[in-house]
Amino acid sequence: MLRDITIGQYYPTGSVIHRMDPRVKLFGTLVFLISVFAYKGIVGFAIVTLFLAALISISKVPFRYMIKGLRAIMILMLITALFNLFLTPGEVLIQVWKLKITKEGVMSAIRMAIRLTYLILGTSLMTLTTTPNQLTDGLEKALKPLAKIHVPVHEISMMMSIALRFIPILIEETDKIMKAQMARGASFDEGNIIKKAKSLIPLLVPLFVSAFRRANDLAMAMEARCYCGGDGRTKMKPLRYQSLDYQAYAVLILYLALLLALRVVL
């Protein structure tokens, strides 16, 4: 159960997209998200689909692997689709008792499902092609201007990368505590939902205690290694734009401009 947590999973293939600067990919994700909600008409849809398909094939991440990420949001998608299906007013197609399915409802349910699917595919493409550290580095650099208005950008990105580093350690620890409690007769998958929730208490309390102890130790270790915040720090792997990145920016802007132009024209 716990092994399924896949935050920040990285699928190395060494493709062009993997080699891009994380800032480009962050910007690209943003552009793609906008485009998914901004496209209009069948031509716009075709362009977005083509763009996504092209990105996936360039990234060399197997399509089947990407689909895996969709399973987790199946329920969410179903609920959204159902709401759209039944609650959109318009020309009635079928009516059962008080539930009406309208033509507009069917259309918007399909549109919503497609948008959500593309949304997930687009964002997971970013996490699959970027290591967590690159991602936090990229965020830090991209959000740097916010530091001027006293947003603790460096601290936030440091917290994120530490959190990512400790996920596997805490998962292992949870496993260990679970086994220790099971050895003493605790059961975690019996009874109704309240009973299940209650049985998690002896798991969560020691987990929290040890997480705090770890945090304390880590803070001391960081201090001992002269960590004193972002000022005066140098980077072992500084982010520098390559010509590839500029080309990618150009492609992204062109893509967005094309879609927006289509929206205006159509």
Binding site: M222, A224, R225, Y227, T234, K235, M236
Partner: protein, 286 residues
């Protein structure tokens, strides 16, 4: 004589327990008028069982704690002067007990680069230092691995590399082997001894394993916050009775030699290794 790497005079540290309003309800002296001298380039061990104050002393060496009373100089710099803080931390590296809780990066080389990044080393030099220090601890081929996949001994060697990359004059190891299996323990000790020999780094090894300190240049034994014994390993281990009085485990060979001597055999004091014991016993037969 050159400046001492570490010099403590009448060093006192008290932990103050407070109630909810912040009023002190109890004080506990973790260090009680400690005097210590450690020469540059030496390998010094500080022994003591749990609660003897040895870890508190270690934290003082890196200015993670400040003295309540008395003075501590690290490389000639007073640790109670906050202007010296970063200089001292840069010059004395610290390796802790739990290997998982001191690795910050999610890739080995990024973790080793963390210290140099903090002290503002230029990028090219960071790469050079990372490579050199990973080589020094024999972990170069794991540079792009995730630390989660390494064994305890390997993680601890990465932690040591992270300290070495800051090019400290002195490395303090606070029970670095307590959570390791015997193999990992050997790995770490070998690495530390090599650093001491090849790079001339002063090593301060804090431990409660007697077996680890037989190769040290000098030993301090601590109990209840005070230094109760000091001397070379041979001097320390020849006083088996007083070691036992301070609840220290004496190495088996030394204990065996001691018992044999008590039983009437004419053996010298302070036998540290199996070879020495065999030699001494062979002499007896003649």
């Amino acid at each position: 004589m050159a400046t001492m790497m570490v010099k403590a005079r009448q060093l006192v540290h008290e932990y103050i327990r407070r109630d909810e309003e912040g009023n002190p309800i109890a004080t506990q002296a973790a260090l009680d008028h400690v005097d210590i001298d450690i020469e540059p380039g030496s390998f010094v061990a500080i022994l003591g069982h749990n609660g003897s104050g040895k870890s508190t002393l270690a934290k003082h060496l890196n200015v993670l704690l400040s003295p309540t009373e008395g003075t501590l100089w690290v490389d000639g710099k007073d640790t109670s002067d906050m202007d010296n803080l970063w200089k001292i931390r840069q010059n004395t590296g610290m390796v802790f007990q739990n290997p998982d809780n001191q690795i910050i990066g999610s890739i080995v080389e990024e973790d080793v680069g963390f210290g140099p990044e903090n002290i503002g080393v230029p990028t090219d030099e960071i790469w050079q230092r990372v490579e050199d220090s990973l080589r020094a601890v024999g972990m170069l081929k794991y540079r792009s691995h995730s630390p989660n996949k390494l064994s305890g001994g390997q993680k601890q060697r990465v932690a040591i590399a992270g300290v070495v990359a800051m090019q400290p004059k002195c490395i303090v190891l606070d029970e670095p082997t307590a959570m390791l299996d015997p193999n990992g323990r050997k790995e770490v000790l070998r690495t530390v001894h090599e650093l001491n020999r090849k790079k001339g780094v002063t090593i301060i090894l804090i431990t409660h394993y007697m077996e680890e300190v037989t190769d040290a240049d000098y030993i301090y034994v601590m109990d209840s916050g005070s230094v109760v014994m000091q001397g070379t390993p041979r001097e320390i281990f020849s006083r088996v009775e007083s070691l036992k009085a301070h609840r220290m485990d004496v190495p088996q060979i030394t204990l065996l030699a001691h018992e044999l001597k008590q039983a009437g055999l004419n053996l010298p004091d302070g036998i540290l290794t199996r070879e020495e014991l065999i030699e001494a016993l062979e002499k007896l037969q003649v």
